[in-house]
Amino acid sequence: MTSPPREPRGAGEDVLDVGPAPDVPHPVLGWRTWRLGRRAQRRTDLIAPLAGLPWPSRQAMVAFCASPTHAPPGDRCGCGLYAVADPGRLDWGPSDHEVLGVVALWGQVVEGTRGWRASHGYPRFVVTGPAIAEEQRAALARRYGVPVHRSEVPPRVLAAQLGADRARADALRRGSDAEVATALAAGMPEWRRRWSAGQAAAETACRPRRRGWRRR
């Protein structure tokens, strides 16, 4: 495993002095999004949606910061690998190839009130939408060596529904591979029903009123 270098603390450095740092022997688990590549060569790439960088397979993603004053994650800088505790807080882009997942973060970690930024990360599991084919999911799972699940609702819808059910979201975030698979399978009918009901309500609201022809 990659052992990150200890961040030096010096005068004028962009690091808050928060006292003795508690070391934990496990990674921090948080929700985040990735985007799947559309081109044939990148269809098994998990791509950081903002930076557009592919996460490496079978090795840790290491954060990079252009600032010479600190190594990621700086306390007063936005650098580092992101994750949040509440999947409902994730932002989504326009791509229908974005996926939801849980990432393991470790190394130097900055904890905020809603999530974390860290120096090292690797996907824990991924949930794709129904638009992603079985073959692509299988190839993704083989490449990264992590479970890739299929959601019957778009990942952004799943994230929003999990955001409203934090107990279930936390159980998924911290669960074992088997527990995650079981919980997703158990919850999917309910999530699909809610999504379908929401879509039907939206269609009803948007349907134009039938207006009779009127002679002028």
Partner: protein, 68 residues
Amino acid sequence: MVHNQPLVRGVPRGSVLPVDIGPVRQRFTAEPVSSPVPGEPSAEPVIELVRDEPAHDAPTHVPAEPAR
């Protein structure tokens, strides 16, 4: 939320952050015992077995030499 600090390689200043993690609460080091990366060796703690019995061929008591 728009950032004006360097974020990660390839992200221009002024772009939108993916998510807001809120004000910093604490900073710590997480060093997992088992690697989150599949296939990587785990950083298992090394346990040294220390034998607390004296060896049979070693003298347990050495008589003091008489003072001259």
